[in-house]
Symmetry: C3
Subunit: 397 residues, 3 copies
């Protein structure tokens, strides 16, 4: 174990973890201390893994996953996190996404949790529903635990909902800390969270919302840009504005990619669906109106096409700070001439930053592991001390 | 580890486990001692889990699952049991339920078992087939082990067949022991296993058969009630009658829910398909007669509707002992005004007993773990002693 | 641990493992020493498992699987190997087989590998594609590791491609060594790798190619037999010819089963699709020409039927050495009068050798474990020494 890692473990001991809670649903429900603890532990776990040190904390236990939308990357991140902690993934396959309420949710939440230490949920398809569903599960778990049905209260992790995508935004933050050499260096840095053109439709709003909701807290100067009609949830905009004022950075909304890119230290160009489309879509999905959905998709794609110039390319990158802003993306990106004729980013820009985007993604397993570790263990600091003292290698030499 | 748990572990040492066998297919194939050992170990594992003690017995090994019918709860129970013992679930996905015989079964049974310690099978769709299939697998495993193809003989666990549902009935029994404060208190207690209305069709007979087949052994006074035509397999009725006479309790069949509920200590109202329907259904499924199946379903649902008054509600509960019988269900229940307009149980009754039904379900993972532990280990008593002496915590502090 | 096992572990220490590499894609890319090390370790792991000794090498880590074709046996073999080594399978479910290139492959390969120690791929449907895809993944992993995206370079294992099926041919070789009492006894032994009739179409060429590519190296006298048009990939034929000359055995191609069987010590009758059919099939699949595929299938089945006499039966077995050649098959075999009216092998012959075919299949989990162990560990010899010194039992007495 090297010195840097040892020092980080030392620092971790001094953070006030009281009240961390069982769930990680929205970053803005967490205190600064808790965000800091999660990020620091993410870095610690990543370094331990790199140095071949095991951070297994459980001898047995299930990590349940519920994917109400397709996922490969998050699935593997969750599986990796669970595995590293000593938990085994058990997937609840609901066959198809459904809006269930009441007894069904309460019962299922308990039935899958008898020996579970974590539940990870992705539910990002329905505006107004995903996060609500997670809270219903959360209450069911509280009830089950208080009634003695469950011997332990599993940690509930939001793997992307309609409002936030905390495992993504926290991985992004970890990348930024690493890139700029420390959290203190993020203060005042300009980040452009901008819409970008994509020949697809219905992408969730949770990534841009997660970014503006988290980066304004770090004191970054955040600019959101999107074409008219591509608004985000008003509450999150309000939150970002408030945080922008409080934390010495700032928050504003502009109407062009160029304006947002001007002098930016970081750019995050990424497509999402218009707010009103997501609302109509939720209604149509609820009423199983397939024809309506089809019409809406067509409309939306035609509308998207009007904004094909929202592409992150060399010309636009030249507007950024010294022409060298960090390009970020949650992946997979729609790359022009690679995955589609016109996309979110040009081949040249993507290739130049590809390594960075991969590195960014690489934090996610460790973010999830940190969230479970902090939510589930009674004394995470004592546990980390024990783990670092034991210094077990992952390969069992 | 508390005193009660220590005493239970002590008691477990004195049970005669000889001849427990490799499989758990029907409760009535097991001796009283073996049933007692399984139940006691279920309680021990449940208490160990509650007290945070690991009962891992395997350093590695697969627990194969074969689900020939949909399942969420049993899937998670099996995964939980495997995980707690140190085994990893590997699911044989046959894509669709099929009646296979001969070389295919023998070969597959061996090919999936080279490193397997347990195989759990659910096959409850075809009357006369599920249990038969399990025995074919069992013989194939015996052969494979005797020929040296397999280095170990995996334990075969019936996760529900056409005849019995032993992991359910054993969990039910564990709940009853807990509720009445000991197995000796079950003697003479009245239990009403009754049919109930449900707006669905084709539910297996294995739950009611499992209940009358097991509870008559515990000396309970068992009443089975169902509308005309909703008979169970004659052999199981004969078995229950015989056991009812031998064990000081009793067994009778009546024709109304009210009659069964009168003065009952426990009620178990649950829908199932008529015997003749399950027989015709098996034939139609074998011949892939989809139209026939559709017609049969319609007929059956119309027939079911004639018995909509078979609902467990406050009025009927008032007939039970002091109006306070324990309501049981294997879940999910069809709850009137919650999951459907008319169902097996009223909302009021279900809500009053919800906590009990969840608690009942919570035993299942530990029942399965106990079955595998007893079937698979050469000396389960020595192993449990070692485990309790080591007193390893599940969270690795 | 018995003496034979101890001696094998001793022998393993003396093999030169330098340059084993990260991947196992084709047996003929491996040196004789590396093939020998893999086979010896296969035998060692099999014996350890039989004697109840754990050979877990990892405290945590994922073993990713990518199945671009259906598989039950290889799936379970891979899961078993992973589990025995301490790794957990995480399956990449691509929904449907697809020919993906470029950024997608590179990105996915990295995204699933952050905490992976092994990746097993089956991709055998497209001639000219499967192995190519594996090499693309391999390069992506090299890049990811060199760039620091990946903390470790996962071992890449070919679980069957269009060219070779090394986990199968190595299991076959292990069986032959056991059957003939040592590798030295394989020299000069006659093996007939022959086409056989099957009422199906489109079976890959990788099994026969794997056999002629590996057995000619062991100094066996290899005869390939098939009807006209059922050629294998020319490169592999050339390789077998060259190796046949170099290693003191031999290689020839004949046009009848009878000729190949004459005086053979081992026969391996197995169906495969004609080379030209696989080529046309690949093109049709690429262009999604379903009608073309259907027509090709019909044509091919009609053509197959002309060779229904290519069945391994008692009459043909009588031609072999003393009428007692060892019958081999990768399973499942098409058995006449069992799985189909006319198949690859008669019921009588299959039944007589069934036990041997099961035993042959039983090596596969240990072959895969050996491949991962050798590719992934820095010093496999030291690790095996540690494991044997610790002598941990798999059941944790």
């Amino acid at each position: 174990m090297n010195k840097i890692l040892e020092r980080k473990i030392e620092t971790f001991q001094s953070i006030d973890l009281q009240g961390y809670g069982n769930d990680f649903l929205l970053t803005w429900e967490k205190s600064d201390q808790h965000i800091e603890a999660t990020l620091l532990l993410t870095e610690i776990f990543s370094m331990m893994h790199q140095q071949g040190i095991s951070f297994k904390a459980f001898d047995a236990g299930l990590a349940v996953s519920v994917f109400r939308d397709n996922s490969t990357r998050t699935r593997f991140s969750y599986a990796s996190a669970a595995n590293a902690l000593g938990l085994t993934v058990s997937d609840l396959d609901e066959k198809k996404s459904q809006i269930a309420h009441g007894e069904t949710v309460r019962e299922t939440a308990n039935m899958i949790s008898f020996l579970a230490d974590a539940i990870g949920i992705r539910d990002d398809m329905y505006l107004g529903e995903g996060n609500r569903y997670m809270r219903e599960v959360s209450h069911a778990l509280d009830l089950g635990f208080s009634e003695g049905t469950l011997h332990q209260r599993p940690a509930l992790i939001n793997l992307q909902c309609d409002i936030d995508h905390p495992t993504q935004s926290m991985a992004d933050m970890a990348k930024l800390r690493d890139y700029f050499g420390g959290v203190e260096n993020l203060k005042g840095k300009k980040i452009a969270m901008t819409w970008a053109y994509s020949p697809s439709y219905g992408k969730p709003l949770s990534v841009p919302q997660g970014i503006i909701g988290l980066m304004t807290r770090a004191g970054m100067d955040v600019t959101l840009a999107h074409p008219e009609g591509y608004d985000l949830i008003p509450d999150v905009i309000d939150l970002a504005s408030r945080q922008g004022k409080e934390n010495g950075g700032g928050f504003r909304v502009v109407k062009s990619m160029e304006e947002a890119f001007a002098d930016a230290d970081v750019v995050y160009p990424k497509s999402w669906a218009p707010y009103y489309v997501m609302q109509r879509r939720t209604e149509l999905l609820k009423s199983n109106d397939n024809e309506g959905l089809h019409t809406l998709e067509k409309e939306c794609l035609i509308n998207n096409k009007l904004h094909q110039n929202w592409e992150c390319n060399d010309e636009k990158m030249a507007l950024t700070k010294d022409g060298k802003a960090l390009y970020m993306h949650c992946l997979p990106a729609d790359i022009s001439d690679v995955s589609c004729p016109h996309g979110e980013v040009s081949k040249e820009v993507f290739n130049r930053y590809r390594r960075h985007t991969y590195h960014e993604a690489g934090y996610k397993p460790f973010v999830i592991a940190a969230m479970i570790f902090l939510a589930r263990l009674q004394d995470p600091q004592a546990m980390l001390k024990r783990i670092s003292r034991q210094n077990n290698t992952r390969v069992m030499y």
